[in-house]
């Protein structure tokens, strides 16, 4: 099976390389901009240059002038003041030059012998259209008021659709209060391609990405990170995108500590209605890149295809308990890195219907089903059985939001799933949510909800360890014993349930400030004891999200447990700074 997965990975890698070669050449113009001062205003997606400006476009045009403004949103470049325009076979002097790159139109005001208005169509600089009407703001230099730049440099390479690259960038912080010395090459990606956002790094309290290389189809990023367990460390991530839908992401996290996670995420459309997903993770304990002391991981391959009113996903995954060759000692380095052999393989097929309306009732429903097979020569889930089959069916039923008294909106949702295992065993998962909301104004809303969740298992000890989602055995979030985490607690009894009553108030007086506060009461059965089973009986939580700068937001949250086994506050504030 190892060979099979490796073969699939190789075939996929080959397919990706072939796809990259077949991808059409990107036609966008890149600009090599040099000046006495090049400023990048990230808030307004604008680059401005002053003093001895030279803008060399990749289509062979070079423009010199006193000032330059590049609007990355509109993909326009304007060079103004004592302009000298050199293009293949043509050279002109004038007052201002503007290139609307998205439309392949360039506008120019020559001054000698007399001012005129010229338009160059489709990069034909030898034959200007003279006197042709221009857009009213053809040469407008974006007005940024008193805004401070984010980056100051003397040179930049700009792909107006995708990225800007500075070879010696000084960063400006605190409204001009701090300016760093010139730092190594920095790439800022602002592509419309959403796949540059795919994140393969595990969560961290702080993450400062620094683009070190990039193009219109790739981005390499170093991350300076902090979390409470690992403290500070560096990570690396690479993105490659194929067209608008395909991507491959690779990362090492952290790269500066021995406990490393190597990740590979791939999404490859195989037609207009199907796609292949390949995810693999490798966990190693190694100093630098020397022989690891432990190595395990998994590989997962999924093919999803849209049908008429539903979709089907076939999935195969392989978990590698140990990728190091066994030795006589039974461990590597020291006994804490012992040899563990475990090779579960899981295959499955899942079917999911689209949301359908139930006649004129207003209800919508979705049906789910799937089948899976798990194999492990050493026994599945710790049992003596080497092969286990599974089958599941499920449904989601939802009401619309009904208008209720006092201007409230009332809504109910039912989710249920029944699973058969060939141990034999069976499991039932159910969630019922009823919520009522009242919107007092555009700035204040109140929601009361009742959430009932239950898990019924014939034999709680005969479940699957490490199954995959296509078999229907791991309701989200995944849990170690194959049963769902109920209210954040591992399911350890044949019949468990939790009723949660939640009251949430959301206040948003302005887009720059959001405040959410909630009170929750949990009733977990059969027993609700701290550190044994069940969540805190009562808890209150608050979350504030507010603006730090023009594009920076901070999100701070914390919960209060009302003396749950001596615990009053959640262990720490959750703090997240993000860019908008």
């Amino acid at each position: 099976m190892k060979t099979a997965i490796a073969g699939i990975a190789l075939a996929l890698a080959s397919a990706l390389c072939a796809r990259a070669e077949q991808a059409p050449q990107h036609s966008s113009v890149t600009i090599d901009l040099r000046a006495q001062r090049v400023n990048y205003f990230s808030d307004s997606a604008t680059i401005q240059a002053r003093g001895d400006v030279v803008a060399a476009l990749s289509n062979g045009v070079t423009v010199r002038g006193d000032a330059c403004s590049i609007d990355l949103s509109l993909r326009r470049i304007v060079v103004a003041g004592h302009v000298r325009l050199n293009a293949p076979g043509a050279s002109y002097g004038g007052a201002a030059f503007a290139d609307f790159l998205a439309f392949r139109r360039a506008y120019f005001v020559p001054l000698s012998p007399t001012p005129d208005r010229w338009t160059f169509l489709n990069d034909d600089y030898g034959h200007p259209e003279k006197g042709r009407e221009m857009p009213g703001d053809a040469f407008f230099l974006t007005d940024l008021g008193d805004a401070r730049p984010f980056i100051v440099a003397k040179e930049a390479v700009i792909d107006p659709e995708n990225y800007v690259r500075f070879d010696a960038a000084s960063f400006v912080f605190l409204n001009g209060g701090i300016q760093t010395p010139a730092l190594p090459r920095y790439v800022r990606n602002f592509s419309h391609n959403q796949n540059f956002g795919v994140n393969s790094l595990a969560g961290a309290t702080y993450d400062i990405p620094y683009g070190i290389a990039g193009s219109s189809t790739s981005l390499d990023t170093a991350h300076f990170r902090y979390d409470q367990q690992r403290k500070t460390y560096f990570s690396f991530e690479h993105h490659s995108v194929f067209g608008q839908a395909g991507y491959a992401v690779f990362s090492v996290n952290p790269i500066t500590q021995p406990a490393k996670q190597w990740s590979w995420l791939t999404y490859l459309p195989t037609g207009t209605s199907s796609a292949l997903v390949f995810d693999a993770q490798l966990f190693t304990y190694q100093y630098g890149l020397i022989q690891p002391l432990s190595s395990n991981g998994f590989a997962d391959l999924r093919l999803t295809r849209a049908l008429r009113n539903s979709s089907v996903t076939a999935e195969v995954s392989q978990a590698y308990g140990n990728l190091l060759a066994p030795n006589d000692l039974g461990y590597y380095g020291d006994p804490s890195h012992s040899y563990t052999q475990n090779h579960p393989t899981t295959e499955g097929v899942a079917w999911s219907g689209y949301d359908q309306r139930a006649g004129r009732s207003g209800l919508t429903f979705r049906l789910l089903s799937g089948a899976g097979h798990t194999r492990d020569v050493f026994g599945v889930g710790g049992s003596a059985k080497r092969d286990v089959e599974s089958l599941y069916v499920g449904a989601i039923v939802s009401t619309p939001v009904y208008r209720a008294p006092w201007g409230t909106g009332l809504n109910g949702i039912y989710q249920g799933q029944h699973v058969w295992l060939s141990y034999p065993n069976s499991m039932d998962f159910q969630t019922v949510t009823v919520s009522e909301s009242k919107r007092f104004s555009s700035k204040f809303a109140l929601t009361a909800s009742w959430v009932f969740q239950s898990v019924i298992t014939r034999r709680v000890d005969e479940t699957l360890a490490s199954p995959n989602s296509s078999t229907g055995l791991v309701p989200q979030p995944a849990s170690p014993n194959g049963l769902p985490l109920l209210a954040g607690t591992l399911t350890a009894f044949p019949h468990v349930s939790n009723q949660a009553l939640v009251l949430t108030a959301a206040v948003a007086p302005s887009p720059a400030f959001q405040f959410t506060v909630s009170a929750q009461r949990n009733n977990y059965r059969p027993i609700q004891q701290p550190f044994v089973a069940g969540p805190p009986r009562y808890q209150a939580a608050a979350d504030i999200r507010t603006r730090l700068g023009k594009t920076l937001f901070v999100d701070i949250g914390r919960a209060y447990y009302f003396d749950w086994a001596g615990q009053r506050w959640s262990p720490a504030f959750s703090i997240q700074v993000s860019e908008q």
């Binding site: 007052a95 201002a96 005001v109 001054l111 796609a275 689209y354 909301s437």
Partner: protein, 261 residues
């Protein structure tokens, strides 16, 4: 017809009434008496025009506005700071704003008063009478003026209130938040946090500049919880173009999340 309308408008001017009443019989108003200076026929003593706008060059005896219009600069034309009236203490470089006085008789700029901030004085440079614009070629219409006009994002662009409401699939965990990830945030999965409206809807109200063109997708806070299409396949990013107007309303539907079947 235009002249008739101008004449009618002129007849409503208080000065005209007193003038016409001087005679015994009502006189037919003459268009030249009250027409705006830029529409009037040349007269012996036309009024100077006050024009304002962003300038991109001051060179070879011409002043060139961001509209691309070049006007002749009179020899010895005074250049002063708009605020102080003294010589500007800053360089006259592209992007500066100016209020200029155009002598209608000579067609030359007599004075230039500059400012680093936009000036709302006189006639916008874009409306300068074409006969004063120095251009070698005869004006030609542009049949395919494709670029959008008047939506250039700047501090002058008007803020538009954009309200985005999204319906989420019923299996969305009730305790989860919903966000918008945008290209302007580097596709940060938590770029814009939305407020829950009810059991199935979230909403956000934002102030965006006219002309903004944003791509976005909905997430539940991480990229592994990004929205998918009905079949669970990756969907193209959504597009939001902020046109003019006071408000813009967008209703969206998420059919599935990447991590939920």
């Amino acid at each position: 017809m235009i002249f008739a309308a101008i004449a009618f408008a002129a007849a409503l001017q208080p000065g005209f009434i007193s003038h016409s009443m001087a005679g015994a019989a009502p006189a037919v108003p003459q268009a030249v008496q009250t027409a705006p200076p830029d529409r009037a026929a040349p007269s012996p003593t036309p009024l100077p025009l006050l024009l304002s706008g962003q300038i991109v060059d001051l060179e070879s005896g011409f002043i060139v506005f961001a509209t691309g219009d070049a006007l002749k600069l009179a020899s010895g034309a005074a250049i002063t700071d708009y605020g102080s009236g003294a010589a500007p203490a800053y360089a006259i470089s592209p992007g500066i704003y100016a209020v200029v006085t155009l002598d209608a008789a000579s067609g030359e700029i007599q004075t230039v008063r500059t400012s680093r901030k936009p000036l709302v004085v006189g006639t916008p440079a874009a409306l300068v009478p074409r006969r004063y614009v120095v251009t070698l070629s005869s004006p030609k219409p542009n049949p395919d003026l494709a670029p959008r006009q008047g939506l250039h994002p700047s501090i002058l662009s008007k803020a538009v209130t954009v309200t985005v409401t999204v319906a989420v699939p019923p299996n969305t965990p009730f305790s989860d938040d919903v966000y918008m990830a945008t290209d302007t945030s580097g596709w940060n999965a938590q770029a814009i946090k939305m407020q829950r409206l009810d059991g199935l809807h979230f909403q956000i109200r934002m102030e965006l500049r006219g002309g903004s063109d944003i791509r976005y997708v909905f997430t539940r806070g991480t990229w592994s919880t990004v929205e998918r299409d009905r079949a669970g396949l990756q969907r193209a990013s959504r597009s939001l173009f902020v046109a003019g107007g006071d408000a813009q309303i967008i209703d969206a539907t998420v059919y599935r999340w990447a991590d939920l079947q």
